[in-house]
Symmetry: C2
Subunit: 217 residues, 2 copies
Amino acid sequence: MYFPPMTHTATKTPAHPARGDARLALLDAALALVRRQGWAATSIDQLCRTAGVTKGAFFHYFESKEALGVAAAHRWTEVTTPLFENAAYHRHADPLARILGYLDFRVAIVQGPLEAFTCFAGTTVQETYAASEAIRSACGACITDHAARLEEDFEAALRKYRPRAAVTAESLALYTQTVLQGGFVLAKAKGNAGPLLDGIAHLKRYLQFLFKARSTS
Amino acid sequence: MYFPPMTHTATKTPAHPARGDARLALLDAALALVRRQGWAATSIDQLCRTAGVTKGAFFHYFESKEALGVAAAHRWTEVTTPLFENAAYHRHADPLARILGYLDFRVAIVQGPLEAFTCFAGTTVQETYAASEAIRSACGACITDHAARLEEDFEAALRKYRPRAAVTAESLALYTQTVLQGGFVLAKAKGNAGPLLDGIAHLKRYLQFLFKARSTS
DNA sequence: TGACACATACCTACCGGTTGGTATGTACTT
DNA sequence: AAGTACATACCAACCGGTAGGTATGTGTCA
């Protein structure tokens, strides 16, 4: 997973969310704070302050910080999935056009500060892969599930264009995520989105090389 | 920067390093611990315990945890630079062969646990880019400087093969790092090095497409 | 050659604040 | 009346950082 809206479904986290909204407020606070500061640097107190609830509410819904992390990963999938599902690029009849459209969509949502378009799952898993198997696998599933949607289009593109190279749809879908995640890291290191945009451009060229090698062009 | 030896120059960090070695012991402890646990999860106390020194020694050499982070980034460059500089792939006369050799070398050092071949700079900058400009720029320099060596080979390859596509040596060098960093993230998310190895294979194919398009093949 | 001056390289003990987590109480909803 | 959804108050452990001491040099001059 990857991109995100910084504005949550509940539009704006209120000072005191209505009864029943504390869980969602905490989850959305987690997505926002962790993307900016990382997992370990985000404390439960800060989460509660941002969400406008107390620690009692936190431990009412989550039995530990780790449990919150797992739930936040699920929430991340929940919030990003419709974003990509409703995007216009799915309308293309050609599977390769859909994939390239996905990449263009990625470029289009690169706006605002870095924490507005980087990935919760990628950030979190870097810190927790050795410490928490539960969080690791939840974040891993975020990325794998997101790649799985692309995989279908790659499958179709492979059938249609039959490139010379022996590549699998799964490997290509994962590679797109590799480039995106790496782009996020480089963007953070450089302080701007340039490397991410460049990375996507290189990836598009690779896919064109790969598929157009025997296509109609 | 990226790969690393987990075994330090001072072979093994002793329980109590000899007088004068505390600084290096702390730095090497930082590289090891941060790559496994992340930056924020690594405390000064734990650093001192691992290095076999006390807090007094820590603050004798570093005025803050942030200062240690900056120094560790420099140490990271110091320890990885000779590793790549002494590698055999530099012997190739053809610049493209050197680049492909670099990637093969990357594959060759993917061994042991994840924290043994992932990147200190990439891990650290993900957590600190918003919180510490000093650490961010130090880690950014790690990656940029490492890419700069590759850039020379790309420059030569570009001159020699003159590919049709309008790409710069800098952009290509940065893209290799993007793929590597992204590979590290996916490897952590999946729990194995597969995505990293696959990513490198895709990158090699891209470069071959790009340069062989007008080459002798 | 020795002794004094001084710097470097640490170590022990401690500080206020924050951490993740708990125990208990209360108000609202059904 | 009872369960759900919180809030309040609290805790031991740990956090980054400081204060003040000591052990081990090293340079200087008689």
